[in-house]
Amino acid sequence: MSMRLLALIAAITAAGCGKAAETPTSPTTTAPTTILFAGTLQPGTTRFYSYTLNTAGTVTAMLASLERSGTPMPNALEIGLGIPAGTGCAVSAALNSSSQLIPHLKQDFGIGTYCVRISDLDGMPAAMNFTIRLIHP
């Protein structure tokens, strides 16, 4: 009986107080891709940027800045998400808004080639520099 107890204690000690050895495993997650689409928009014009999704998922677009000579401007521009069509970008979702730091648009897409478009519909008084932050899977 005593020998059994000794064996039990030895087993507990060897087990390291219940801390069994574990093999760490890394979760398989794919970090989202961030694209900064920046440029100059002339009054009354449109510009777009095409990108490819290798994984289906949610795409967000944010007009993060609109500046003229380094000064932020309150003008509203149209931001749209869609697919390249001919020499343009046919948007399936669009919103007219001034710059902000939260996404203007959020839409789910499958694998494929898509585009983000910025347009001046209201007629800006002068050319302005813009930055769109696009995040996709």
Partner: protein, 135 residues
């Protein structure tokens, strides 16, 4: 008797092993600069910016708490850092330092920046301190 002594000895060794896992080392407290305080200088026609990262969505704010010399008007703006190391602004205010010299915007998680700049009124360099708050 010998068996009991052996048992007690084994239990003591076993429990001592467990107790070791509870011992913690004292942690040294490092004194570091406050990452939410942005202090720098703006020259006439110039600007200075600080990048920061929001780990979660929330309110991003910057308050111009002081300038040297006092009473100087500076622009304080919030935006996102560009690849050319510039801070592209989304919104900005022109203000003198004070508790109400604050700009705040809701922001998604990600990289952002605070830029302090001359709005066209400076004739000499101005030192400033901006307090930044974010999630």
């Amino acid at each position: 008797m010998t068996t009991r002594l052996a048992l007690i000895s084994c239990l003591t060794v076993a429990l001592a092993g467990c107790a070791k896992t509870l011992i913690t080392s004292p942690t040294a407290t490092a004194v570091a600069a406050d990452p939410n305080t942005f202090t720098n200088q703006v020259a006439p026609g110039g600007s200075a910016s600080r990048d920061l990262t929001l780990t979660a969505a929330g309110q991003l704010s910057a308050t111009l708490t002081s300038t040297t010399p006092p009473g100087a008007v500076l622009g304080v703006g919030l935006g996102i850092p560009r690849a050319n190391n510039q801070c592209a602004l989304s919104s900005a205010i022109a203000t003198v330092a004070g508790a109400s010299a604050r700009i705040a915007m809701p922001a998604d998680g990600g990289p952002y920046c605070v830029r302090v700049f001359d709005t066209g009124t400076l004739t000499a360099p101005v030192s400033f301190t901006v307090a930044i708050t974010h999630p």
